[in-house]
């Protein structure tokens, strides 16, 4: 479904702040893949998602979606096939607009926006049904401003907006990281449900190794702008946190043993 071919991204090239964020990264996602992405801070996880969504341009390499080269397509055009949920719950919704207005905007993702009325009665029913599946009681609050909702509720609404019009690829960028543990668990459960129900191809960045193991059929670990571990199938199912930490340390080379090895060289 999605193919990244040798993409590179360097921030502030040629300055003292130069930072290589993504190095020759290649990745192929098959239809229906639910991939969890882990890695330490600065590993390039969010950058990879931003490159896919077009929020930032790639330096080199190409991005292919469904056989079509979208490397140079602006972000708002890519949105036609992408659903996105951000880490910051404030970022994915319009606080001063009503819940139904936010959903109506999302329901027109990838379509031409003309002079027809922005929201229809038929849609309202559809929104109510979709919201009730979240079990947050939001189905009776269509006319509430999104800004009045809690962070978890907003994130749930953002998630719904991302999948209202079925995306070919769902990008989740640590979408539970800013929530309290209980709310995070709930949003994650909703995520799992939505992804399974719609059989969505998904990339989910997370800091939580347990979540990364429990969800998805494939796990990739990033370090220094590269994919260092790529596990799927049976191996993924049998993953444990200690083993993952071992892999992680081995890959990023930050155990004492590795340090010693480095020093001995």
């Amino acid at each position: 479904m999605l193919e990244l071919r040798k993409i590179c991204k360097t921030f502030n090239p040629g300055t003292v702040n130069e930072k290589v964020a993504i190095k020759n990264l290649s990745l192929t996602l098959s239809d229906g893949d639910f991939v969890t992405v882990i890695g330490s801070n600065g590993a390039g996880k969010s950058t990879m998602l931003n490159l896919i969504s077009g929020a930032i341009p790639v330096d080199s390499g190409s991005i292919i979606a469904n056989g079509k080269d979208i490397t140079h397509l602006p972000d708002y055009k890519r949105a036609a096939i992408l659903g996105r949920v951000f880490q910051d719950p404030m970022m994915g919704t319009s606080a001063n607009m009503l819940i139904e207005e936010n959903l109506a905007l999302a329901n027109r993702r990838g379509q031409k926006r003309g002079l027809k009325w922005g929201i229809t009665e038929v849609e309202r029913e559809f929104f109510k049904k979709s919201l009730s599946k979240l079990n947050l009681g939001l189905e009776n609050r269509l006319g509430t401003k999104v800004g009045l909702l809690s962070g978890g509720q907003r994130q749930a609404v953002t998630l719904l907006m991302a999948v209202l019009r079925k995306p070919e690829l769902l990008l989740l960028d640590e979408h539970t990281a800013a929530l309290d543990p209980k709310t995070a668990a709930k949003v994650l459960a909703i995520t799992e449900e939505i992804v399974q129900e719609n059989n969505l191809t998904t990339l989910m960045v997370t800091h939580n190794m347990k979540d990364a193991i429990e969800h998805g059929n494939r796990l990739i670990m990033m370090d220094g702008g590269r994919i260092v571990v790529d596990i799927s199938g049976e191996e993924k199912k049998n993953l444990t946190v200690p083993y993952l930490i071992e892999l992680f340390n081995g890959a990023s080379g930050n155990t004492e043993a590795n340090d010693a090895m480095l020093l001995s060289k």
């Binding site: 708002y76 919704t93 319009s94 905007l105 993702r109 926006r113 003309g114």
Partner: protein, 305 residues
């Protein structure tokens, strides 16, 4: 007694002027409140509206066609600012200032190189004129400016409820969300600024007819009056008016209140030279109040904790 009677006498004029400036305030509302952009183009596009309208009427064009042309000229001014902002990545405020400054020269050219061009109601057919403001006849400008204002409000109410209008509101409120939903943010900024400045120019065109002349300086400080209208409207009706059309209506009332207060202070013997200073101070205070309130509640919160 003389104060009261002269104040009462000045009410119709203040209300007419207020409603005309209110259309301008609605234009400012679109950029300032909906697009979240402080657009300083308006000082120039207001005078552009007046200049285009007056010159066309003087050339024998129908006043209706003249105000449509003024609308178009204003939209064009907004387009220039929007292009400077979106295609050249110049900050919105600076883009507005650049357009505003260039419009000074352009407005002078439109007015044939003169700083003032009269359009007398004796010689030309005008839609509105100050002369009849206290007449009980069809010539009275009040009904027409009220109708125009209502038409503007209803059109905007419709537009901002459409798919495109909703997308523009989302663009102003949260561009990140808008982009993620496939909305072309730059195009929407362009449309928003064009609509806003078209309304500002319409207001300028009406005011020029009302006062019987267009003047190169008639838009000076217009942004402040527009903001004053927006803010006064919100202070009085912010809590009651939730509906979008009513919010725009509040801007119109805000402008009327502004002109009524102005009349009072003038009758009280205020020096007209100090007007702009006082207007600016009032707007500054009202813009600061919400922030002060927030600071106060935060301090209280700390004390209670």
């Amino acid at each position: 007694m003389t104060f009261l009677s002269s104040f009462l006498n000045s009410i119709p004029g203040a209300v007419s002027q207020g409603i005309i400036w209110g259309i301008m305030g609605i234009g400012v509302y679109i950029t300032f409140r909906i697009m979240d952009v402080a657009d300083l183009t308006v000082d120039g596009s207001f005078a552009t509206g007046g200049a285009v309208c007056v010159m066309l009427i003087r050339a024998g064009v129908s006043p209706w066609i003249a105000i449509v042309c003024a609308l178009a000229a204003g939209a064009l001014a907004g387009l220039i600012t929007a292009l400077l902002h979106t295609k050249c990545s110049i900050p919105a405020i600076l883009s507005g200032i650049l357009t505003q400054l260039s419009l000074y020269s352009i407005n002078l050219r439109i007015m044939g190189g003169r700083a003032n061009q009269p359009v007398s109601v004796d010689k030309f057919h005008l839609l509105v004129s100050q002369r009849y403001v206290r007449d009980l006849s069809l010539n009275n400008p009040l009904p027409l400016v009220i109708l125009m204002s209502a038409a503007v409000i209803m059109t905007l109410y419709w537009f901002f409820g459409t798919e495109r209008g909703c997308a523009i509101r989302a663009t102003g409120d949260n561009p990140n969300m808008a982009k993620a939903q496939g909305i072309n943010v730059k195009n929407n900024i362009i449309i928003g600024l064009m609509i806003s400045n078209a309304l500002v120019a319409l207001s300028g065109a009406l005011l020029a007819q009302y006062q019987g002349a267009s003047d190169i300086n008639m838009g000076r400080g217009a942004i402040v009056i527009g903001l004053a209208a927006v803010i006064i409207g919100e202070v009085f009706f912010g809590k009651i008016f939730r509906n979008f059309a009513l919010k725009l209506f509040a801007v119109s009332i805000g402008a009327v209140v502004y002109y009524l207060v102005l009349q009072v202070t003038l009758q009280l013997g205020l020096n007209t030279n100090d007007l702009k200073l006082i207007s600016a101070m009032i707007v500054a205070v009202f813009l600061a109040v919400p922030y002060w309130k927030k600071l106060a509640t935060r301090k209280k919160g700390v004390k209670n904790a």
